[in-house]
């Protein structure tokens, strides 16, 4: 069974959604990890959930990055552990230096809370194997600071390394300005690191895991993680 740890920072508010997605929908093992904890050795996947950690003071994610748990998350990621950052979790990953670039104020200046169409760019990362390439998902966004920004050199490196896993598009998969909810550069909705074991994305896959909630397009992301974990674990250990 894949073991997911969901980090709770002061101000996290999507930790229970992530827990529900993993535990009740996926049927895998989920535990909460308090931001003061530093032992992640029992986990296969670490989830940094959405919310407003530390009130988003200074910059989103800037204070959370100094939580005791984050040193452990950096070590976990550098050792090849799977790390998923959603929304505020994406912001924390950027502040912690695990992902390049940063998330700034939406160009509309408004908090945007709505379902968006998100295109799957690559399925060769442990987060996306259960999708089809180019598949257009319905995933909700809910953020005031989600505009992905990086310099041209960083953006070009992300493209050439195939690190852009998700982009905002219209329902037909066309990359347009109108489909971009926050003004993100190159319509970027989610990126992974070069080693492909750390993903940050602004849309919330954990909120679209059941048809009852409008869509289950987020579910294959968690199923991809489960498949990656199960593939990695030698069967003799069972």
């Amino acid at each position: 069974m894949a073991r997911f740890g969901i980090v709770t920072f002061p101000g996290s508010n999507c930790d229970h959604d992530a827990y529900h997605a993993v535990k009740h929908v996926l049927g895998e093992d989920a535990t909460f990890v308090w931001h003061q904890d530093t032992d992640l050795s029992a986990l296969d996947v670490v989830v940094l959930p959405g919310g407003f950690s530390y009130g988003d003071y200074l910059r989103s994610g800037a204070i959370a990055r100094f939580s005791p748990v984050m040193d452990a998350v950096v070590d976990f990621a550098n050792a090849g552990g799977l790390v998923l950052g959603v929304c505020n979790g994406f912001q924390v990953l950027c502040e912690a230096g695990l992902l390049p670039g940063t998330l700034t104020r939406n160009n509309s200046l408004r908090f945007v809370c709505k379902p968006t169409a998100v295109r799957v760019e690559r399925i060769d990362a442990p987060f996306t194997t259960q999708y089809a390439p180019g598949q257009v998902l319905s995933l909700p966004v809910a953020h005031g600071e989600g505009r992905y920004v990086a310099d041209d050199a960083t953006l070009n490196a992300l493209e050439s390394n195939n690190q852009v896993l998700f982009r905002y598009t219209d329902a037909d998969g066309r990359m347009t300005d109108a489909a971009n909810p926050n003004g993100s550069m190159r319509n970027i909705a989610g990126i992974c690191n070069e080693a492909r074991n750390v993903l940050g994305l602004m849309p919330h896959p954990e909120r679209h895991v059941e048809l009852l909630l409008g869509s289950d397009d987020g579910r294959p992301l968690f199923e991809s993680l489960r498949a990656s974990v199960n593939d990695a674990v030698p069967t003799s250990a069972a």
Partner: protein, 89 residues
């Protein structure tokens, strides 16, 4: 040990879109201040630092900016140090 005040301005780099500045600019236009050509909004952060001397205080402020107070991807910072206690003068 003498005490110093560090006044730090954190501003968005010129190349970074500043939607807040744009909104304020629009408000000033609406106020009739059409001569205001541009607005950029930043942050002012004040630190009170006990340090051996001004250079040591500056170093504390600078590492604070580099590691926490500013994000080098999008922001610049400027530091102004002044003596706060008579012994620091």
């Amino acid at each position: 040990m003498p005490t110093y005040h560090a006044t730090i301005s954190v501003t968005l780099r010129p190349s970074i879109l500043d939607p807040e500045g744009k909104a304020v600019h629009q408000a000033l236009q609406n106020l009739g201040h059409t001569m205001v050509e541009d607005v950029r909004v930043g942050k002012r952060i004040e630190l009170t630092i006990d340090a051996e001397d001004e250079d040591a205080a500056y170093e504390v402020a600078e590492t604070s900016c580099q590691k926490v107070l500013a994000n080098p991807v999008t922001e610049n910072y400027a530091i102004d140090i002044t003596a706060a206690s008579p012994s620091a003068a």
